[in-house]
Structure formats: structure tokens, C-alpha cells
């Protein structure tokens, strides 16, 4: 693409974006593109991260989330489009002048420096005088609740401690934006949960704008103020965790975030903003918005979360019937997989909180399944309809 | 494009070194095409006489001997070095590992002259081997070991052994031991597992080691000079004789050029031979 075309598109975006809201934005990308050879890593990304918020970039590997982070950090240069930090265009500003804090996946602690030297590195680069530097390093280490290790080397600390050091090192320079690149992926499960809570607390306490890259949807849902879901180099949806989970913008977002059953249904009728679809013997009301191109009688795919499906109780209307095919015991709940070839090419996932679910619905049992609540969403059927599998992140 | 700070400062000195080296090589090439003016350090006009002179049986013989000695040395070194490299990589005890490494590698850092002199003391007529054999009564007069191809090759294997060990060990170290275990779990005995898995996977190291051993042997001077003692001659000895004893630089240069061409021919031959094997390599 010529730079002229890119420029024109950039102007187009600038027009559509509320310029008055920009003083609220800490980091802003406008029509940013990045290619590596023939591969487009990031296509036309436009996103605005508000001051003080924690924004997650969520998506499978290769979706462009790390590229976006590296563009904000200045490790990569954008092919086109604009990147702003605090209203200032930073495309041509090198990393070391961007006033950012970054925490790396493997923490990237300097192995040849002590903990105190690691944390104080950014301050030394800024020419902070020794007494002041020492005080601020101590404060930063206290903030992450890590004291008494100043003289040790990084390899002498545990994974969780190293992460605290990395966080302190990134925060001590009071960055304009904190960038976190999959920071929890190296930690074991229990430690991960407690570190997540701690980082979220510190982030809220300091009010530092944070961009957080992850491929773990659970992590994104629990930590973020807002989430940007990315796939194949494009930002698919930006919204609060609840919006992303309940009102996914497209099939990809619906199936990537949270578990979901994809069921074959038919559009029945439309009425204002709502549409009615037929699933087996049930009629279900869904939003009409994603179905603008579908006409009554056409096939649609109904996306239903496991918690929106349950085994029909006596007298309850049954949507579909099926056979229990497998159990997965999860402690606090049981995942039951039901063969219902009529509506679902793969198996229907039903989540039961009943402690005796396994004995109540043994493998081979015939069950009736009903849809509860109003959370289901229908999308246009995919051309090669095979019925999706319940996906989990 | 990413910024490349200090590019010019970083590359220029190396480029200068490369240029100096190329200039030296170009000079050799230039001299090889000049006529020799006896009794003078100056050279005459351009000529191909030096190269036609190389075809004389006397010189052709030296070329053949050199290639034969190089080949023999490389092959012997490979056979001797492989077990050491294998032991080095697979030794469990750190101390044993360090000992093998230091012993195997020390000759590399000893220099040709010390090594060659040591071998003279070992192989000479009143040297170590002859003294021991005489004392044991196995022989009644000293064996003539010095000034034979055997003696030269023995000393040269000693020279090339360390580098061969290093290259083989580097290749072996990068082979996942799980491969050999997998082979054994599938019913291959330890020897079969080694022959069918580890040996083929170490081929790149073998080729690199043989190539280096060949080039080093070709380059050896003190060993054939002192241990060969004029009975075993290699190209290096001839170049020295012609260059620094007779001051026939043009002919010495043409010998060098021919030797260089031969080295590169053998090395590229080895590379071609290695190509079909390389896809088995670990990388």
C-alpha cells in the first residue's frame, strides 16, 4: 500500500474519532499497520486506552497482540498510522525516550546486577542523585512487598520474587504507561492467582495506565477494566469483560472468550430489535443485530454458554434431547458432554453444580436439555456448517 | 528499517582487516604469475612458467604425497577422536569431564614447535620408544622411526586431534540423548542405537572435523620439516625452501596458489559430500 493511501485512511479515522475524548486517552493508536515481509501482523489498529485503566489485549498466539505492545514500546516501528502517548505522537521517538515501563514475559532481569541495581537502573539512566535513588528503590520494593533482598542476584530469587522485582523496576520510574507481556505465564497456578490480585491492586492504587497482553481469557476477564480481543492481526472487539462475554461482536469473540456451545437453529421471525429462533422444539429470543443479513427461515448458529443450558426438570419445556456421552469431574462442578446430533455436530457441554451429577445422569442416559435465561446469541450460519465444538480457552 | 547505531564504526575495522588479508593473498597470486630473476628479489614480467613447472614429476610427487598424508591424518584423527569426544560429552562426573577436556585440548595450545620437538624425543633413534624397546630386549638396534611417513602422520594426528574432538563434541552435545533412549526402547541394543541414531546425527560434526583436520595438516610445516627430515616432503616445506632459502618468491607463490586451490577443492568436495547427509543433522 502506498503511504498516500495510508495517510488518507488515517485522516478518515481521525474524523470518526471523538477528538474531544483524546485528553482522556493515555495511549492511542490510529490506523496502525505493521507487516513482516508478506505477513500482516497488525492491520489498521485503532484503539484508545483511557488514563488509569487496565486494558488487556487478548487473542491466540499470532493474533498481533504482542506486535501491538511492541509498537507502543517502540521496539518495532509502525509501517503506517499513528501512535500517541499522552496526546503526543511517538512514532519517531525511540523507546528510551518514551517514558514507559515494561514487564517482560521472562522478566528480563539483568543477571549481572543486584536487585537494587536492577530496580534503580531506570533512575540511574535519568540521572537521579544517589540518596534520592536509594529511597525510591526502597519504596518501589516495599510497594511490591519485597524487602531485604536488595543485594541478591536475580537468579537467587524465586519466580514470584523475580516478578515482583520486574514490576518494581518498571514502576519506579513512574511511567506514563505500564506494558505487561504475558507476565504470569511462567508462574505455577497458585502463585499466578495471588500475583494477579496483587498486580491489580498495585495498578489501581497507583492509577497507572496499563496494557496487558495475554492469551488466557480467564486472566483477561478477571483483571481488565476493558479487553481488546484480537484475531489475525485485527482488533475484533473492545469492551468491558462483561460486554465481551455477554455481547460478543462476532463468532470469533463468542467462541474465544469463555466456553460456548454452537447449535444449529433457524431464524423464525424478527420484531424490532429482537429476533426469535427455533432450536429443536424451543423458541428463543435473541438480539437481531448480528442477523441483519439473515431472512426468516434461514439457518443460524446459536451460541449458548454452558451455564445457560441445563437438564430439563419435570414440566420444563425441552429444547433438545440427547444422550450423555462423557463426564469430566472438576471438583466444584461437573462438565457433562451430551450427544445431540440433531442440533450439534460435536457434543453439547452442560455444566452442573449438582454434587451427584455423575450418578444422576450416567453415561448413556437419555436427557432433555433446556435453554435458560436470555443470554444466547445467534450469528449467521457459516457456509460450511459442521457445527462448532464447545471451545474453551 | 531498524536503526543501526555505530554501524560504520563497528564494520570498518573488520573490513580493513579483510582488505589487508585480501591484499596479501592478491600479492601471492600476482607473484605466482611473475618470472623469477635469479639472484634478485625483484621479479620479471608476467608468465605462466611457474605453473607449468609444477607439473614436473618432482613437484607432482610432493603434491600427491601431501594429499595422501592429509587424507591419512584426517582419517586416523577421526577414528581416534570420536571415542574421546563421546566420553567428553557423556561423562557424568564433572571432574572427569574437565580432565578429559583439558588433556584433549592442551596440545592445541602448545604450538607446533614444542609438539614436534616432543615427538622427536619420543620417536628418535635414542628416543623414548627405542630406549624402552632396547631395554626390554625386544630389538637389538634402534628402529628407524624418524623420517618416515608413519612418524609424520603420528605427530600430525596429535596436532589435529584436539580440534577434531572439539568439533565432534559440539555436534554430539547437541544431539538430544532422548533419541538414543528412544531407539533402545524400540529394541535396538546400545551399539545398534549408537550406529543407527547418534552416528548419523553427528555427521555434520564429522564433516567439519575432517575438513579442518585436512586444512590444518596441509598447513603444517614444522612437523614434516623436522620429523620428515627431507625424506617426507610436503608443499609447505617446498614453499619455505624456495621462498626463504632460494628467494624464488614467484615459484613459492605459484606453489602456494596451487596448494590453496587444492585445499579449497578438497573442502568443497567435502561440503558436497556432506550435503545429502546434512538433512539428518540436528538442526
Amino acid at each position: 500500500m502506498s503511504s498516500l493511501a495510508a495517510e488518507r485512511r488515517l485522516e478518515g479515522h481521525a474524523e470518526t474519532l471523538p477528538t474531544s475524548g483524546s485528553d482522556d486517552a493515555s495511549v492511542r493508536l490510529l490506523g496502525t499497520c505493521k507487516r513482516f515481509g508478506a505477513v500482516t501482523a497488525l492491520e489498521d489498529a485503532t484503539i484508545s486506552v483511557r488514563r488509569g485503566e487496565l486494558m488487556s489485549l487478548l487473542g491466540p498466539s499470532g493474533c498481533g497482540k504482542t506486535t501491538l505492545l511492541n509498537l507502543v514500546a517502540g521496539f518495532l516501528a509502525a509501517d503506517s498510522g499513528q501512535i500517541e502517548i499522552d496526546g503526543e505522537r511517538v512514532n519517531d521517538i525511540p523507546t528510551y525516550k518514551r517514558e514507559i515501563g515494561m514487564m517482560f514475559q521472562n522478566y528480563a532481569l539483568f543477571p549481572h546486577m543486584s536487585i537494587a541495581e536492577n530496580v534503580g537502573y531506570g533512575l540511574r539512566m535519568r540521572g537521579i542523585a544517589k540518596p534520592d535513588l536509594k529511597r525510591r528503590v526502597a519504596e518501589a520494593l516495599a510497594l511490591v512487598r519485597l524487602t531485604g533482598v536488595e543485594d541478591r542476584r536475580p537468579h537467587q530469587l524465586s519466580g514470584g520474587q523475580q516478578q515482583r522485582v520486574a514490576l518494581a523496576r518498571a514502576l519506579v520510574i513512574s511511567p506514563r504507561v505500564l506494558l505487561l507481556d504475558e507476565p504470569f505465564s511462567a508462574l505455577d497456578r497458585n502463585l499466578r492467582a495471588s500475583m494477579q490480585i496483587e498486580i491489580k491492586e498495585i495498578q489501581r492504587q497507583l492509577g497507572v495506565t496499563t496494557i496487558f497482553v495475554t492469551h488466557d481469557q480467564g486472566e483477561a476477564l478477571s483483571l481488565s477494566d476493558r479487553i481488546a480481543v484480537m484475531f489475525e492481526g485485527r482488533i475484533r472487539q473492545v469492551g468491558t469483560p462483561d460486554e465481551i462475554y455477554r455481547r460478543p461482536a462476532d463468532r470469533f469473540v463468542a467462541s474465544f472468550v469463555g466456553d460456548v456451545n454452537v447449535l444449529r437453529a433457524r431464524l423464525d421471525s424478527v420484531d424490532g430489535g429482537l429476533a426469535a429462533v427455533t432450536l429443536g422444539r424451543a423458541r428463543i429470543s435473541v438480539s437481531r443485530e448480528p442477523l441483519t443479513r439473515v431472512r426468516p427461515g434461514d439457518r443460524v448458529d446459536l451460541f449458548v454458554r454452558p451455564e445457560q443450558v441445563r437438564f430439563a426438570q419435570a414440566g420444563e419445556p425441552i429444547a433438545v434431547e440427547g444422550t450423555v456421552a462423557a463426564h469430566i469431574y472438576q471438583g466444584d462442578h461437573v462438565n457433562l458432554y451430551v450427544d445431540a446430533p440433531e442440533v450439534c455436530a460435536s457434543r453439547l457441554l452442560v455444566r452442573s453444580l449438582e454434587p451427584d451429577a455423575i450418578t444422576r445422569w450416567p453415561i448413556g442416559a437419555r436427557v432433555g436439555v433446556s435453554i435458560v435465561g436470555t443470554g444466547a446469541i445467534a450469528f449467521e450460519a457459516e457456509p460450511d456448517q459442521r457445527g462448532g465444538e464447545p471451545r474453551s480457552g | 528499517m531498524k536503526p543501526q547505531p555505530f554501524l560504520r564504526i563497528f564494520v570498518s575495522p573488520a573490513a580493513l582487516c579483510a582488505l589487508g588479508f585480501l591484499a596479501a593473498m592478491a600479492t601471492v597470486l600476482q607473484y605466482s604469475l611473475r618470472a623469477y630473476v635469479p639472484g634478485s628479489l625483484d621479479v620479471g614480467g608476467f608468465t605462466l612458467d611457474n605453473f607449468t613447472a609444477l607439473l614436473r614429476p618432482l613437484y607432482a610427487r610432493v603434491f600427491l604425497d601431501t594429499v595422501w598424508i592429509c587424507f591419512l591424518t584426517a582419517a586416523c584423527t577421526l577414528i581416534v577422536a570420536y571415542p574421546v569426544a563421546y566420553a567428553l560429552v557423556h561423562a557424568q562426573n564433572r571432574l572427569i569431564k574437565a580432565a578429559i577436556l583439558v588433556i584433549a585440548v592442551t596440545p592445541l595450545f602448545l604450538g607446533e614447535v614444542v609438539r614436534t620437538y616432543s615427538w622427536i624425543v619420543v620417536l628418535g633413534n635414542n628416543g623414548f620408544i627405542n630406549s624402552v624397546l632396547l631395554k626390554l630386549g625386544l630389538i637389538d638396534r634402534p628402529l628407524q622411526i624418524m623420517f618416515t611417513t608413519f612418524a609424520v602422520v603420528t605427530a600430525l594426528v596429535h596436532v589435529t586431534l584436539p580440534v577434531m574432538v572439539i568439533m565432534l563434541a559440539a555436534a554430539l552435545a547437541h544431539i538430544d540423548p532422548a533419541y538414543e533412549r528412544a531407539a533402545q526402547s524400540l529394541g535396538a541394543g546400545p551399539i545398534r542405537a549408537f550406529l543407527s541414531v547418534t552416528l548419523p546425527l553427528s555427521t555434520p560434526g564429522i564433516i567439519a572435523g575432517v575438513a579442518t583436520a585436512f586444512a590444518w595438516t596441509f598447513s603444517a610445516f614444522a612437523t614434516p620439516q623436522l620429523i620428515g627430515g627431507g625424506q617426507v616432503n610436503m608443499i609447505s616445506n617446498l614453499v619455505y625452501q624456495l621462498g626463504l632459502a632460494s628467494f624464488n618468491f614467484p615459484f613459492a607463490a605459484s606453489l602456494s596458489v596451487a596448494g590453496l586451490a587444492l585445499t579449497f577443492a578438497v573442502l568443497s568436495l567435502l561440503r558436497v559430500a556432506a550435503r545429502p547427509l546434512e538433512r539428518f543433522g540436528p538442526h
Binding site: 514500546a73 525511540p94 523507546t95 528510551y96 518514551r98 517482560f104 528480563a108 539483568f110 539512566m125 523496576r169 518498571a170 520510574i173 | 528499517m1 543501526q4 564504526i9 563497528f10 564494520v11 573488520a14 582487516c17 579483510a18 588479508f21 596479501a24 593473498m25 600479492t27 601471492v28 628479489l41 581416534v80 571415542p83 574421546v84 566420553a87 577436556l101 583439558v102 592442551t106 595450545f109 602448545l110 604450538g111 607446533e112 614447535v113 614444542v114 620437538y117 616432543s118 615427538w119 624425543v121 619420543v122 628418535g124 628416543g127 552435545a173 547437541h174 538430544d176 598447513s219 610445516f221 623436522l226 608443499i235 614453499v239 626463504l244 607463490a253 602456494s256 596448494g259 590453496l260 585445499t263
Partner: protein, 261 residues
């Protein structure tokens, strides 16, 4: 078992000359005999007092010091550019510099000898050092390049994100982390240069004669054990240096023969 014996036999073959030359060095008589009939230190004194050995040692240290230090600077800078940058003739320069590994030393020596004569350089230290730089550069290049490859580039990105300019990243992160590779490369270069013989034979003059050249000339002239005594000192010094290098730098890592984890 057979394998262990074979390895021991081969290692025996490797150290046999060193052992034999040590025995010879303590032989009191001027003519070799095994075992020596009477023992003596006198050849060590003779070797240490011999003028050509003394000046050769000094010359060798001068040449090795200069050549390895220049090669370290040139090689480090180039290895860095090789690893990180794209520039014209990149592979060509690399190939030329590495080719000194396979070009016979007598050819390189002859080349520098004629070149120096042609451009009117006297046969002083400059030409010897220049020749040695070309000879040891591949080793420095390789050692530094391997260290650079093993360096986690995220550490440099982290430094940049913390406000370090490219020059300060180089000074505070990259170079300090490269120190083992740099020291290893320098040591390797210095040892190789100090030991270099064939090319030195061509490019040195009486005044710049290095120790190996002096020893070669001695062996051609005399057969007494003072050469053996010198060899013993040489072997001891080298083995000590290598053991120390192994303990502090991990020779296995420098030579890339450690098994992968």
C-alpha cells in the same frame, strides 16, 4: 569397558610426548637417555639464560598482546554488527575473515612477507602483528558471536524501556554480559598468537623473532635438553592457563561442547 580403555589409551597418546619430554628435561647428560642416569635442573637454567629464548619470549608477548587486543576490538565490533545489523558485503567480509582458518599459514606468511616488501614496510613488528591479527580474528569472532547469540535480547529491550540510550544499553547491559566471551576470545587469541609458528617464520626478522621461531632455529642447530626444559615450562604454563580458564570461564561453553539442557 573396552570403550573406557580405548579412551584412556588415546588420552595416554595425547600426553605421552609431554611426559617423555619432561623426563628428558631432567636428564643431566646432553644426549637423550631413558630413563635418565643422573637427574639435574641445569637445562632449565641454560634455557632461561639463552638470549634468543629470552628475546623471543619478550617479542612473542609484544606481538600476542597487540594482536589479540586488536583482534578483540575489531572482532567484537564486527561480531556485534554481524549479529544485529544488515549491511552491504556482510557475508563477504565474514567469509574473507573466516577463510584465514583454512588458508595454509605458509601462504598467509608468504603473502604478508611479499606485501610488506612491496609497500616498503621494514620487517618490523607492524607486519608481524598485522599477520597475527588476521590469523586469530576468526577465533575472537566466533567466541564473541556465540556469546552474543546466547544473550537474551529482551535484556537490552528492558534497558531501553527503562530509558537507556543505545550507547548506554551497550555499556551497561550488552558489554558486561559479554565479558566471559570477550575474555575467553582474548585469551584464546593471545595463546594462539604466542604459539603461532609457520606464518611467523616468514614474517619475522632476527629482531622480531618470536619464541616458536627461536625454538625452531634452536632445534635445527642443537640437540641438548635445554629445549626439553623450555618445552616443559611451556606445557606447564599452558595447562595452568587452560585449567584456570576452564574453572572461571567454562571452557566447555567457550568451545560450545556442553550438552544442551
Amino acid at each position: 569397558m573396552v570403550g573406557t580403555l580405548a579412551v584412556l589409551a588415546i588420552l595416554g597418546f595425547v600426553i605421552l610426548p609431554a611426559v617423555v619430554v619432561t623426563l628428558a628435561a631432567f636428564n643431566d647428560k646432553a644426549i637423550l637417555a631413558f630413563p635418565p642416569e643422573t637427574w639435574s635442573w641445569r637445562w632449565f637454567a641454560t634455557a632461561l639464560a639463552y638470549d634468543d629464548f629470552r628475546s623471543g619470549c619478550v617479542n612473542g608477548l609484544i606481538v600476542a598482546g597487540w594482536a589479540s587486543s586488536i583482534a578483540l576490538l575489531v572482532g567484537t565490533a564486527f561480531a556485534f554488527a554481524l549479529d544485529r545489523y544488515a549491511f552491504p558485503l556482510k557475508r563477504t567480509i565474514e567469509a574473507v575473515l573466516l577463510s584465514s582458518l583454512v588458508v595454509p599459514h605458509f601462504t598467509i606468511g608468504l603473502g604478508f612477507l611479499i606485501l610488506a616488501a612491496q609497500i616498503g614496510w621494514a620487517r618490523g613488528f607492524a607486519v608481524v602483528v598485522a599477520c597475527h591479527v588476521v590469523l586469530v580474528l576468526p577465533f575472537v569472532l566466533r567466541s564473541v558471536y556465540v556469546s552474543l547469540r546466547n544473550l537474551d535480547q529482551r535484556l537490552e529491550l528492558a534497558a531501553a524501556s527503562l530509558g537507556a540510550s543505545p550507547a548506554r544499553v551497550l555499556g551497561t547491559v550488552t558489554l558486561p554480559l559479554l565479558v566471559p566471551g570477550l575474555v575467553g576470545g582474548w585469551l584464546l587469541a593471545a595463546i594462539l598468537s604466542f604459539n603461532e609458528f609457520t606464518a611467523s617464520l616468514f614474517v619475522t626478522a632476527q629482531r622480531t623473532q618470536t619464541l616458536p621461531v627461536a625454538m625452531y632455529n634452536y632445534v635445527r642447530e642443537y640437540a641438548d635438553p635445554s629445549m626439553a626444559a623450555l618445552s616443559v615450562m611451556y606445557i606447564l604454563a599452558t595447562a595452568t592457563l587452560l585449567t584456570v580458564a576452564n574453572a572461571y570461564l567454562g571452557l566447555g561453553k567457550v568451545l560450545n561442547v556442553e550438552p544442551r539442557r
